[in-house]
Point group: C2
Chain length 82, copies 2
Amino acid sequence: MQAIVNISLKEGVLDPQGRAISHSLNDLGFNEVSDVRVGKQILLEIDETDPARLRQRVARMCETLLSNTVIEDYSIDIPDEE
Amino acid sequence: MQAIVNISLKEGVLDPQGRAISHSLNDLGFNEVSDVRVGKQILLEIDETDPARLRQRVARMCETLLSNTVIEDYSIDIPDEE
């Protein structure tokens, strides 16, 4: 089963990469861009058939390794859940 | 209006970062993880009210700067579109 983890910087945390992209887009003529934030998307293929248990395990992975919870938020999406 | 761009490596392109995460998760006891792929998620705040035009502009940004289309795929999500 697949799980998708989206990791983004918490609001208020400076995002220099996003700032750089924003400036570059403006320089390229995309003046309508006012703000850019860059996050990570992690796709996990996991041998688990129960969506509830999968979500629980992936949350554990986020807390343990995938996300730096001091400065980052994470959200878990399980496409097969519906 | 907000646009979300998800950028992932094309299938077949080696993903050493994903491989490293996969190994680390296995070492930490998450043995059910069989594959990990890492991509980017870029959140853009754009002064544009027409979703169709927004999508078109963001596609142009992806082709020009955000994505390396030789090795990466991108998808555009516009939450306000529905």
